[in-house]
Symmetry: C2
Subunit: 317 residues, 2 copies
C-alpha cells in the first residue's frame, strides 16, 4: 500500500493512500525547518517504500492543511522566517552603503555651512576668509585663534583690517558654528576609517584596486557587492554614466561613454587622453574580477591585480 511523505513549515508528515496522517515530525522552530532533510530522512528510514505524492494526492494533502487550526501556526512560522531572513540580510554591504551615503551628505552639508560661516565671520575678519581658501582649515583656525593672532599669522596689520569690532556675544555665536563644523569634519574622518575597516572585511580586493571611496561609491550605486559581482565588467565600467549610455543607445550620433564613476581614478586621471578608453576598460576588468573574488570570499589577490595594471600602463597609483 502506497504511503506518501510531505513536508511544509509545520513539519514532515506521512500520509496513507487515503491522505490521512499516519506519522509526523513537527518542527518546533524555524531552525528545525531549515534542517528538514534530517527529519524527512528519519521518517523515510522508519516507513519503507514512501513515495512523493502525485498531483491528485497533493491536492488532497493541501486541502488537509487548509484547516483553520493550522492557520495561526502558518502565520507564526512565516513571520519568524521573514524576520530571520531580514536579519540575515543585514551585512557589511549595507553598512558600506549607509556609510558612503552618509559621507556624501556630510560633504554637502559641510559645504553649505562653511559658506555661511565664511560670510558671517567676514563681518568681523574678512581677511581670514580671503587668505585661508581651504574650508576645513578655515573653520579650524578661526575656532582656535583670536582675530589678532590670525591677522598676525596672515601678515595683516590689525589696523588695516576691514572687519568691524563685534561684541563678544556676536562673535561667540559665529564660533559656535565653527565648532559645529569642526566636529562634523571629525565625524567624517571617523566614517572614512570605519568604511576602510568594513571594506577590509568585505571587499579587500576591490578596495585595493579602486581605493576605499570609489569602491564604496560603486557598491552604493549598485546597492550591494552581490550585484556588482554579477555585473559584466563593461557595465561596471560605465556605472554612473547611465544617462550618456542611454543617449548613445537611442541615438547613435553620440559616442558611448568611456567611463562613469571610475572616471576619478588616478590610473585614468594620469593617462593621456587617447588612452582613456583602454585604461578604463582594463581597470573595470580588474575591478570586476576583484568584486567577484570578494563576493565569493576568495583569497586576497588585490596586490597582484594592481601590480598588473601598474606594469601594463606604467602608471603608479
Amino acid at each position: 500500500m502506497a504511503k506518501f511523505i510531505f513536508t511544509n513549515m509545520l513539519g514532515s508528515f506521512v500520509f496513507d493512500e487515503n491522505c490521512s496522517v499516519i506519522d509526523q515530525a513537527l518542527f518546533k522552530d524555524i531552525d528545525q525547518y531549515k534542517n528538514k532533510k534530517q527529519y524527512q530522512e528519519k521518517l523515510i528510514q522508519k516507513h519503507k517504500g514512501l513515495a512523493e505524492p502525485d498531483d491528485r494526492q497533493l491536492f488532497k494533502i493541501l486541502s488537509f492543511f487548509k484547516n483553520r487550526e493550522y492557520f495561526s501556526e502558518f502565520h507564526k512560522k512565516n513571520l519568524e522566517l521573514t524576520k530571520k531572513s531580514i536579519k540575515e540580510s543585514v551585512n557589511n554591504g549595507l553598512f558600506i552603503v549607509q556609510t558612503a551615503s552618509s559621507i556624501g551628505e556630510i560633504d554637502k552639508t559641510l559645504n553649505l555651512l562653511t559658506k555661511r560661516l565664511r560670510e558671517w565671520y567676514s563681518l568681523y575678519n574678512p581677511e581670514a576668509s580671503d587668505k585661508i581658501k581651504e574650508h576645513e582649515k578655515f573653520a579650524l583656525l578661526i575656532a582656535k585663534k583670536s582675530k589678532s593672532q590670525l591677522l598676525k599669522e596672515l601678515n595683516v596689520d590689525e589696523k588695516d583690517s576691514f572687519g568691524a569690532d563685534l561684541r563678544e556675544k556676536d562673535i561667540s555665536v559665529i564660533l559656535l558654528l565653527a565648532a559645529q563644523i569642526n566636529s562634523f569634519y571629525a565625524l567624517r574622518a571617523h566614517y572614512e576609517n570605519y568604511l576602510k575597516e568594513l571594506e577590509k572585511e568585505t571587499c579587500p580586493n576591490l578596495a585595493t584596486i579602486l581605493g576605499v571611496t570609489m569602491a564604496a561609491k560603486l557598491i552604493e550605486h549598485t546597492g550591494s557587492l552581490k550585484r556588482l559581482a554579477e555585473m559584466p565588467a563593461s557595465t561596471l565600467q560605465v556605472l554612473g554614466a547611465e544617462k550618456a549610455l542611454f543617449r548613445h543607445m537611442r541615438n547613435k550620433k553620440n559616442r558611448p561613454p568611456k567611463f562613469g564613476l571610475i572616471h576619478e581614478h588616478q590610473l585614468i586621471q594620469k593617462s593621456k587622453r587617447e588612452m582613456y578608453g583602454k585604461v578604463a576598460r582594463a581597470l573595470a576588468d580588474k575591478a570586476s574580477i576583484a568584486a567577484r573574488v570578494d563576493y565569493f570570499r576568495g583569497k586576497f589577490i588585490g596586490d597582484k591585480l594592481k601590480k598588473e595594471l601598474i606594469e601594463k600602463f606604467k602608471i603608479e597609483y
Copy 2:
C-alpha cells in the same frame, strides 16, 4: 580782497584771489574730517569775509590738488574712510540676516541627516523609527537609550523586533550620527535665542507683531530693516510671493497674491478663508508701522498695535 575757503579730506584751506594757499588746518585723521565744520569755523573766525569759490575759482583750486604730492595722502584717507564706513555698516540687522539664514540651513541639514539616521538605525531597530515620528525626539531617544529600553517603552517585545543584531562597532557609528544631530538641534535652539535677543534690541515692535522667526525672515528677504521700513505696506504684504505677483502683472487672468511670507502667521491661519485678504492687509499695515518705528528707534508700541489687531478680528495670537 576776496579770499576763499575750501575743504576736502586733507584739511580746510584758505586761498587768496590767485588761488594760493594762505592758511590751512590739516586733518590728522578721519575723525577730524568728520568734524570738519568745527575746523572751517575757526578759519572763518580768523579770516573775516571768506567767500565760497565760484566755478572758475573752484577749477583753479582743484588743479592745485592735482599735484602728485597729494595723491598718496588722498588714497590713504579714502581707504580709511571706506574702512570706517564698512565697519559702521555692520549692525544688528546683518546679524539677524546671518542668524536667520543659518537657522534655515541648519533645518535643511537636520532634515537630510535625520532621514539618513532613520534609514541606517532601522537596520538595527526599525520599530523605533516607525513609532517615533518626530525627528528631534527620535535622534534624542536613540542616543540616550539602548535598543531593549526603547522597545520596552514602545511596548514591543524584543523577540518580535525585525531588527538585526549588530556588532557594537556598527551600532556606535550610527549613534555618533545621532549625537551630531542632537548637537545641531542644540545649536539651532541657541540661535533662536540669540535671534530673539537681537530683535529685542533692533526691532522689538516688528517682532511683537510678527513673531521672532517671521520678522527675521522678512528682514532676511529684504536684506535690512531699513529697506523693510522704506517699503509700502502693500509690498510688505506680498514679500516672498514675487513670482505670483509678477505673473498677475503680466497676465491679468491670474489674481494677485494675497500674501507672501506672512502667510504662516497665526492671525491668517486662524481666519476664515474669505477673510484672508482683509487680515493680511491689516497685518501688513501694522507690521509696516512697527518696522518704521523700529528703524527710527521710536518707542515700544508693539503691544498696542498687536492689541488692535486682536480686537479687530477677534483672534488671539
